[in-house]
């Protein structure tokens, strides 16, 4: 499985200048993702599939893609269960 993740309808990911943090805003909810989730969310554009997201992170953080893949899958599954991301 190599889905193309996208933000669920009504969700916006943006930098909040007052707090200096990235926030994910949705219908009557919001998430303040940690550093790792922030890097993943920045790459969700409705074009890249999971493999492409993993490849990008592996190259930039100089880490093995198998390990990153496990993290990214878990993160996306969590965001999907919470309704913030569609897979």
């Amino acid at each position: 499985m190599n889905p193309v993740p996208r933000l669920s309808p009504g969700h916006k990911f943006r930098l909040d200048r007052v707090r200096g943090a990235w926030v994910l805003l949705g219908p009557e909810r919001m998430f303040v993702p940690d550093e790792h989730a922030t890097e993943v969310l920045k790459l969700i554009d409705g074009q890249r599939d999971v493999a492409a997201i993993v490849a990008d992170l592996a190259a930039r953080f100089n880490a093995p893609s198998e390990a990153i893949r496990i993290d990214v899958d878990a993160m996306l599954a969590d965001l999907s269960a919470r309704g913030a991301v569609r897979l």
Partner: protein, 365 residues
């Protein structure tokens, strides 16, 4: 010490509404149209909200679309980078209103239904044809490509229909459904005996929500709000007093929650003459119950004091006459018995409702 900025601004644009739900949480003393803030003041409030770090604006009422400047306010909030959420009964959400909201950049609409059965829906809102209008509004929202939340308020007369409510939300293409038991404030408290569900009804509703959540995971979010009356612990009302939200009444009074005006001994600052930053950071009304310093026992030494913040101040006052008391929804409260007493009292009560009274005054906006 400056507190972290508010996350959400709840803009109660008006108390006017074409419906008259007997569970409405608006105050019994509904604000008149003539007392409402004007457009320029709301625009300034939205500017200040964005400046101090508010992320989301919830436009509500009453019926926010009863204000002709509703979409103008949405546009202004959007331009300020705020996430805009409209909470509407939908009966006046016609093609024109939809087009204006869309052009204004609305992010999300929450549409309320009183029931899935048309006749019951229209009886509860005291408005003929409301159901058909709401169905049409749902279709318009989806057609516009906007995310849709359906909201159902649950009480004794409709608690058995939660599965059908969720099925209707699916059929209408909702991304999110709120199954929210009545919160007993305002008109809801007046009608408590007729509205409270039985414990069996509550369990069945909870089970229906759990089933649907498992079935719809990843496709639809279901948010569930339970009634305090059968609970063992209170809710963290508004995420804690003045911790996350600022609520502005139609007349411009800033409060930590929309029911706070029922509390005695408060002067709520007006956005007409006090900037939002001062209200949030240093007004007596916002400082009074922020944090834990105000608490007495059993909250003061409880390990949940920063989880539920002692529950709801308005409920403590409404049911016990003491603004500083532990919310009686908590089992640890010495007065927890008032909750069971209300349930017992409601068991024999007839389903006669006092409908919210409409204001018959001139509309100025």
């Amino acid at each position: 010490m400056t507190p972290p900025p508010p996350l959400g601004l709840i803009a109660e644009l008006t108390h006017r509404c074409p419906l008259q739900c007997p569970y409405c949480s608006n105050p019994l003393d509904l604000e008149r149209a003539a007392a409402e803030l004007d457009t320029a003041t709301w625009l300034r409030v939205l500017d200040q909200a964005a400046e101090i770090g508010v992320l989301q604006v919830h436009l509500t009422g009453g019926e926010p679309l009863a204000r002709r400047d509703c979409s103008e306010l949405v546009a202004h909030a959007s331009a300020n980078g705020l996430y805009t959420n409209l909470i509407t009964s939908g009966v006046t959400l016609d093609d024109r209103a939809m087009a204006a909201l869309l052009a204004a950049g609305i992010d999300h609409i929450q549409l309320s239904f009183q029931d899935v059965v048309a006749s019951e829906n229209d009886r509860f809102g005291a408005s003929p044809n409301a159901f058909a209008k709401k169905q049409a509004a749902a279709a318009r929202i989806r057609q516009a490509g906007l995310p849709l939340t359906l909201n159902f308020v649950i009480h004794r007369a409709n608690a058995g229909r939660v599965p059908q409510m969720i099925a209707m939300a699916e059929a209408l293409g909702a991304d999110r459904t709120e199954i929210a038991h009545v919160q007993y404030y305002g008109w809801g408290l007046v009608n408590r005996a007729a509205l409270l569900p039985t414990l069996d009804q509550l369990h069945a509703a909870t089970e229906a929500v759990d089933d649907a959540r498992a079935r719809l995971s990843g496709r639809m979010v279901i948010d569930y709000v339970v009634p305090d009356y059968h609970a063992a612990r209170p809710k963290a009302c508004m995420g804690g007093w003045a911790q996350r939200f600022m609520n502005i009444s139609p007349a411009g009074r800033a409060m930590p929650c929309h029911a706070a005006e029922t509390l005695p001994g408060f002067t709520f600052p007006s956005v007409r003459d006090v900037p939002l930053s001062d209200i949030w950071n240093s007004s007596d009304a916002f400082l009074r119950f922020r944090g834990t310093a105000w608490m007495k026992e059993p909250c003061r030494s409880c390990d949940r004091r920063e989880v539920d913040w002692g529950g709801c101040r308005c409920q403590a006052f409404a049911l016990l006459g003491d603004t500083h008391a532990t919310d009686p929804a908590c089992e640890l409260s010495p007065d927890h018995g008032v909750m069971q007493a209300a349930v017992t009292e409601s068991e024999g009560a007839a389903g006669a409702y006092v409908f919210r009274k409409p204001r018959k005054d001139v509309v100025l906006s």
